[in-house]
Structure formats: C-alpha cells, structure tokens
C-alpha cells in the first residue's frame, strides 16, 4: 500500500518520484509511520491536517484528517501565532521546538516538535510535515522536580518561620498561606480544637471569607473533626455532597478538600484544610505529603506556643494569687478586702464576674454582699442553706461547676436573669466552719469552667478565709480596744481631775512653802539677833565682873571678891544656858548641818581635855585621856563632836567632888566609841532615859538637879546627826560613864 496516495483527495503530490520508490521502501515508510509512537502529520498551507499517522489519530481521534490543526490540538477557532507549521511556512526551513499543549482530552502534553517543509517541483512549499515526540513525562518530571524544589524551599521557609517566633497567630497565618501555595490549592484554613468548650474553630485561613474566623462547630464535626477523629488525612473530590460538610465552607465554594490532622504526640489539636474551588483541583500525593509536612511543623508551633502560654498563664495566675494575698494582708477592712477578692477571683480564671456569698449561721440565710461586675440589685438577693448553687456548696462543702446554669436545678431566677451562663463555686472555709462561698461566673462569652479553675479558686478561698478571720479577730480586738478606750478615757478623766486637784494642792503647798521660807528666814534672823542680843549684855556682866575681880579697878577685898565671883560665875552659867538654848533651837529648826571631815578622834579628845583642864583643876579633879595606838581617822564634824565631849566632861566635873575623870576612845571595825568616866555621885538607872530628854528636870532636892540643862539633849541630837548612839552606865555612888559612838563609815557628804 502506498503511503502517499497519489490519488488522495487533496491532491498532494507524492514526495519524490513515484518511479524511484521501490516497493519495500514504500512499505518502510508506511510501517514506520504506522508504528512509531511519535505523531506525524502533514498540514497544508491552510493548516488543514492532510495526513495523520496512527499515533496521532490515537491521541486526537480518527477523524482529524481534514480538520484544522489548531482545532484539534488546541481546541481553538483560529490559528495560533506561534504554530511550528507557521514558522516553517515563513522560513522554509526545518524547525525544532518544544511546546506544551493543553488539551481537554489528554490534559497537558509536552511535545518536542520537528516541522519540515514539503516542496513541490517548483520549489514552493506546499505542505508541512510535523513530527511530535511526546516528552510529557520528562517535562512533567522536570516540572515536578522544579516544583518540588520550590515546595521544599517554601517548606523550609515555613519551618524557619515557625522556629523563629512564638506568635502563634502569626505563624499559623503564614502556615496556611504557604500550605495553600505549596499545594496549589485555592484556599486553606487551620482549624483548632478548643478543648475547654469542646468545639472546633477556624481562626486562620487564606482566601476564605473573613467570617470564617468567628465560626465554630462542635468537636468531631466537619472534615476537620473527621480527620482529627481518625488521625488520618481526608481527601474529598466532592465536598458539598459529603455528610460532614460544613455549610460555611460549602457556601464559600469549596469543591475539593484535603485535610490533615495537626497532632502533638497522639493528641489532635487541630487540622490543616486545603481546598480546591473547582472540581478539577485534585490533590496529589505530593500535595498530601507537603500538607503533612507543614501540618507537622504547625503542630510544633502550636505546642511551643501552648507551652509558652501555659507558663504565661501560670505566671498570671500566680500573680493574681499574689495580688489577693497582698490585698488581704495589707488591709483589715473586711468589706474592702472581700470586694478585692471578687475582683481577683474573676481575673485569675479569666471570667466575667464573681461574687462572695456569706452564710448567717443563726438565721440560715445566705447573702451576696460582695460582687464584681454584677448588677447592683443582686446584692439584695438572699438565699437559703441548701438551696441555690451557693446554698448547696455551703451545705456540702464541696466545690461545683455548673456550666449550664440556666438549666441547672439549683438555678436562682435572679441570677439567670442577670445573664449568668456558667459558674464555678468553691466553699469558703474557716477551720472546719463553712462561712460562705466564692462563685465565679461567665455571662455569655461562652466560657466553661474546669477542674483547674476549682484548684485556683480554692487557693483564693483559703486566702479570703484568712482575711475574714483576721478581720473578725481585728473586729474583736477593735471591740476590746474600744472598751479599753472607754475605760482609759474614764481613768484619764479621773486622773485629770486628780491632777487638777494635786495641782491645786501643789499651789497651796507652794504658797505654804513660801510662807514657811519666810518664817524660816525670820527664825534665822531671830536666832541670829537673839544670839547677839543675849550675848552682848553677858559680855559686859562677865567681862566687867572679871575685870574688877582681877583688880584692874583697884584693890578688891575678900567680900568684894566673893560677891564679884558670884556675879561672874552666874554670868558664865547664863551664857552657857543661852548657848545651849540657841544650839537646841538651831538643831530643832534643822539649821545645824553636820559637816563630815576625816578627823583623828584623839586630836578632838585632846582639844576638849585641854579646854576643860582648868575647870577640872579648880575643883581639884584629875582629867586624863586614854586611847590606844593606831587609831584611824573618822568622818565627823569635829566641832560638834568636840562640843559633845566637852559637854560630857563638863557634866562629869559638875557631878564629881573628888577623883578622876578619864576620857577614852575605843575603835571597832564599825564604830568609834568615846567615853567619859567619872568617880562622881552616879545616876540611878531609872533616870537613864530621862536625862537625855530635853524637858527633863530633876526633882528638886536631888543633888543632881541643877545644871544638867540642855547639854545632854543637845549632845544626843549631835550624836544622832552622826548616826551614832549615846548612853550612860552608872550606879548611884559609884560614878558614871557616859559614852557615845560614831560610825566609821559615814559618807562624806551627809
């Protein structure tokens, strides 16, 4: 059979010369053309397909001969401008090219075209022969590789993105965008599972309507739910018909879908969904692998962010709890503290509002005095023990969650009306008494409460209990304090009165004092004056009588001597009495001071003895002293002690007619004892006490009457001013020994 039919209907002359074609050559061409894979066609100048080989016919149909090439190949109504045949016709040379052909039957074909001119005898191009070698696979493979490379690059970029940030939202937005592009999808979304609320949301999407972010379906619903449930990818060609279709997606035009779960370990946390909006967009294995790779990275990102949030959350909870603790310990006004507690309680679990219920144990009535973010009128509501959520919690002392409050049997209409949707309640315990409850509620943002929330609120409840207890104790203390204050006030007033009284008395005393001082001064002056007044005349009496007695006025006879002697002696006596009187007066008035000086006691005795020796001599008495060696000085007022000794010696002389007077000193570790011993008439023991008494007067008739005077009384006072003692030992007829002691250890400034 001939390949080129010289009788073909188009009148195309055979190539070369018929005459020169041997039969087997003609068969060769025919055989080759019929069997090769390549498609061969011949087109005339108008692009009619004049001849098509078997391969071409297989690709494009048996009836392509006679039709336009562009009609067949490209399904176009007119010629393509860059058709290889066109080029050949223009250039008249062979043309090689690679082309892609989109064909609805064959899809995309990549071909290597060789087009060559066919000349007639005149050398005019009459036709173009086109050989097309199918290189679709290679090309596709190449393209695949390129695309793969691009995808990997993109994937790497996504991974980098994820690893570099913790802004989960931002990451997931990018993830869905990249995934969409990498899989050549039309749109995509990341679905996340909200465990708390048991629903699936679609917060991140690419090329989907914005309202998708607000949508939610129950857990397990939708393709996202399906893929999460099974843990396997889901690919659908006809999304709208699928029983699990979600209207919002169908409405958005989703036709095909590829969904892969996002897993952390074996726990699904969401899904990555990629959509084709035309039925032709089918997802390939490569797409699936790409989607899974991205999903894996997204899951990591979610986990990281979750952990971060978890920590952040914990920190936030901790901070809130700290705030509560601070409030509680810094303030003692209970109402204020509990109000703060409601605020913190709602903050710490991210709720809308909170309230504290308190139980009046006596009445069994529950009130709601403290609330955060609730209408004021709710504070007037009262409940009963056992009724209502708070009532139940207080009764059972068990916390509870009511996530559907309006449906709860324990609901209180007032609270339902206020819009409370879910509530978590914990008891408020002090020791083993339940005094109320803390309730935290959500009013409609759809929040549900969990075990964790109970835990956190229990902590706050304990802190609040501490606050209540503190305030109660403080209240008690306050009460006691008030009582005390009341009493203190009373006492203070009493004291004030007393003080005023004593002020008054003080003033009186002051005035009296002033008067006394005046009197004292007058006394002083008086004493000084009297001393002077009394002594001055005596000076004359004593002086002149002595003067005449001594013969200064001329000779004096015996009688004159005697009389003058009497005058003189009495003058002296009077002087002595006056001195004693004045001394005693001074002592009595406390005007005598004892000036203590370290004085050797023996010197004092010697001085006294010397001054009295003459007196003793006049009566023919012997006056001696006797003291041991190594006497040490004693703190005393020398003048006064000497006065005492002189007084005692004087008395001894007076009451002794004959014999010896001995003045002695004895010193012990504690005191120094002076004694004056005489051989006089003695004193009967009955008088021992009396003689030191200033008012004592011996009965007349007793020889001892005259002349003791005030001396002993004064001596006693002087000795006592030294903190010493004075005493007498005597027997009538056997003489007397008068002794007095001075302590060794008197302070220098007495």
């Amino acid at each position: 059979m001939s390949v080129i039919d010289s009788n073909n209907k188009f009148g195309v002359p055979a190539t070369g010369s018929d005459k020169n074609c041997s039969p087997w050559r003609r068969d060769l061409f025919a055989t080759i053309l019929a069997n090769i894979d390549d498609g061969v066609s011949v087109q005339d100048r108008d692009r009619h397909i004049v001849y098509a080989n078997e391969s071409l016919k297989r690709s494009f149909g048996d009836d392509i001969e006679g039709r336009y090439c562009f009609e067949i190949y490209h399904q176009r109504a007119e010629a393509c401008t860059d058709c290889p045949a066109d080029v050949v016709l223009k250039t008249g040379t062979t043309y090689h090219t690679k082309r892609r052909i989109q064909n609805s039957k064959r899809g995309t074909i990549f071909g290597e075209f060789t087009a060559a001119p066919l000349f007639d005898e005149q050398g005019q191009i009459v036709a173009v022969v086109e050989v097309v070698h199918n290189i679709t696979d290679q090309e596709l493979g190449k393209q695949d590789l390129l695309e793969e490379g691009e995808r990997l690059r993109r994937l790497a970029a996504v991974g980098k993105e994820i690893a570099s940030g913790l802004d989960l939202g931002g990451i997931l937005e990018k993830v869905v965008q990249y995934a969409t592009e990498l899989t050549s999808a039309d749109a995509g979304t990341v679905a996340l599972l909200d465990e708390k609320n048991n629903e699936i949301r679609y917060p991140y999407h690419f090329n989907m309507p914005a309202k998708l972010a607000d949508a939610a379906v129950p857990k397990g619903n939708g393709i996202a739910g399906l893929t999460m449930k099974t843990g396997q990818p889901v690919l659908l060609d006809d999304y709208p018909s699928h029983p699990d279709q979600v209207p919002i997606f169908t409405e958005a035009g989703v036709k095909t879908i590829m969904a892969v779960p996002l897993m952390i370990g074996d726990r699904p946390v969401g899904a990555l969904g990629l959509f084709g909006k035309s039925p032709g967009k089918k997802f390939t294995q490569t797409d699936l692998e790409m989607a899974q790779a991205v999903a894996g990275q997204a899951a990591v990102a979610i986990e990281n962010a979750n952990l971060f949030n978890e920590i952040g959350n914990q920190l936030r909870v901790q901070r809130e709890l700290n705030q509560v603790a601070v409030s509680i310990t810094s303030g003692l006004e209970l109402g204020h503290v509990l109000q703060e507690v409601t605020h913190h309680a709602s903050e710490v679990v991210n709720a809308d509002s909170a309230m504290i219920a308190l139980l009046d144990e006596e009445e069994g009535v529950i009130t709601y005095p403290y609330a955060h973010n609730l209408p004021q009128h709710l504070r007037q509501v009262t409940g009963q023990l056992g009724k209502g959520v708070a009532g139940r919690v207080i009764e059972t002392r068990e916390p509870r969650i009511d996530n559907d409050y309006s449906a709860s049997e324990l609901r209180n209409p007032a609270f339902v009306e206020a819009g409370i949707k879910s509530i978590v309640t914990v008891p408020l315990m002090i020791a083993d008494r339940c005094i109320g409850a803390i309730g935290v509620m959500d009013k409609g943002s759809g929040q549900k409460f969990f075990e964790d929330d109970i835990g956190i609120l229990s902590i706050i409840s304990r802190q609040a209990a501490v606050a209540v207890e503190n305030a109660r104790l403080y209240g008690k203390l306050s009460q006691s304090a008030q009582l005390l204050e009341g009493r203190v006030k009373e006492r203070t007033e009493a004291l004030s009165r007393m003080y005023q009284e004593s002020e008054r008395k003080s003033r009186e005393l002051e005035e009296a004092n002033i008067k006394l001082r005046e009197v004292d001064r007058m006394k002083s002056e008086f004493l000084a004056n009297m001393s002077h007044e009394l002594r001055t005349p005596l000076n004359s009496i004593i002086g002149f009588s002595k003067l005449v007695l001594d013969g200064l006025d001329g000779e004096v006879n015996e009688e004159q001597q005697k009389d003058l002697g009497i005058i003189h002696a009495n003058g002296l006596e009077l002087l002595r009495l006056i001195d004693d009187l004045l001394s005693l007066a001074k002592i009595e008035a406390g005007r005598i001071d004892v000036v203590l000086v370290e004085t050797p006691p023996d010197i004092l005795v010697e001085e006294a003895v010397i001054s009295m020796r003459a007196n003793a001599g006049e009566k023919g008495l012997e006056l001696k002293h006797s003291f041991p060696e190594d006497l040490h000085p004693v703190n005393m007022d020398a003048g006064k002690i000497r006065q005492v000794i002189v007084n005692l010696i004087g008395n001894a002389i007076k009451f002794t007619e004959a014999g010896t007077i001995i003045v002695a000193i004895e010193q012990t570790s504690d005191e120094t004892v002076f004694s004056v011993a005489d051989t006089g008439i003695g004193i009967s023991p009955t008088h021992f006490a009396e003689i030191f008494d200033r008012f004592h007067q011996e009965k007349p008739g007793e020889a001892a009457s005259a002349g003791v005077g005030l001396g002993l009384a004064i001596s006693k006072r002087l000795v006592e001013m030294h903190r010493g003692r004075i005493w007498v030992e005597s027997e009538p007829g056997k003489g007397s020994t008068f002794s007095f002691s001075v302590p060794n250890s008197n302070d220098v400034a007495n």
Binding site: A528, S531, H532, R535, T536, L538, N539, S540, I542, G543, F544, K546, L547, D550, L552, D553, G571, L575, D579, L582, V595, G639
Partner: protein
C-alpha cells in the same frame, strides 16, 4: 614704857561697854587703845595712825559693817600687814569663814574671855599680817 613705844590697838565696836572693857584690859597689859564706834571712823583713824592690831566687831552700824571695813582696809597697800581680828557674838561657822575670807586674821567670840585677850593680842601682833587661812 614710853607712850611712843606702846603698840597701838584699834577696837571697833558700836557697844560702849565692849570698848570700855577691852580698853581697860589691854591698857592694863601695856597697849595703847584707840576706839571707833563704826567703820567710817575706824578708817579715818587708820588714815592718820596705822595700828598694830585691829579688833573689828562684825556687826557695825552705818554704811559698812565690820567685814566691809576690813575689805576696804585691805585694799590699802600700807595696811596689808596689819592684823585684823574679828569679834562676833555669832558662833556660826559660815560667819567665821566669811571673816577670814574678807581678810581677817583671826576670830574671837563674844563674850570675850578677858583673861585670854591679852595673850591673843600678843600672838596676833607677833604673827604680823600672815596670810588669812
């Protein structure tokens, strides 16, 4: 003993009896005795005659008492060495001390022991105007 060789004692006391007593006693002992009833007159006498001893009663009438008179006396350089013995009816120690502070060399209590007086006078004149204790 000639008049000019006698030691001169000035006795200053407002009491006539005291002056009389002292004069009699001391003249008997061989002293020349001058008298003054108050401080002013005492100083007037001292102006013309520097005594060998002054017996000065503490209590004197007039603008200045015995202590003041003694003080003024001591201000005079000529009179630094003149012994002044205070006479007083007071037995109070402070008075004694004050006298000594002011410049007196000694202190005699009244009533005066006329037996002791001449000896004391002699002692004080002999001592001269020793520094007061």
């Amino acid at each position: 003993m000639g008049e000019t060789e006698k030691k001169v004692i000035l006795v200053v006391d407002d009491n006539d009896d005291v002056r009389r007593l002292v004069k009699k006693v001391l003249e008997m002992s061989g002293y020349k005795v001058l008298e003054a009833p108050d401080g002013e007159q005492a100083l007037a006498i001292i102006d013309s005659v520097v005594p060998d001893l002054v017996l000065m009663d503490i209590r004197l009438p007039g603008p200045y008492d015995g202590l003041e008179t003694t003080r003024r006396l001591r201000e005079d350089a000529r009179l630094q060495r003149v012994p002044v013995v205070a006479l007083s009816a007071s037995v109070l120690e402070p008075d004694r001390q004050r006298a000594l502070t002011v410049g007196c060399n000694g202190f005699i209590c009244k009533p005066i022991d006329i037996a002791e007086l001449p000896k004391l006078v002699e002692t004080y004149i002999k001592r001269g105007a020793a520094t007061p204790r």
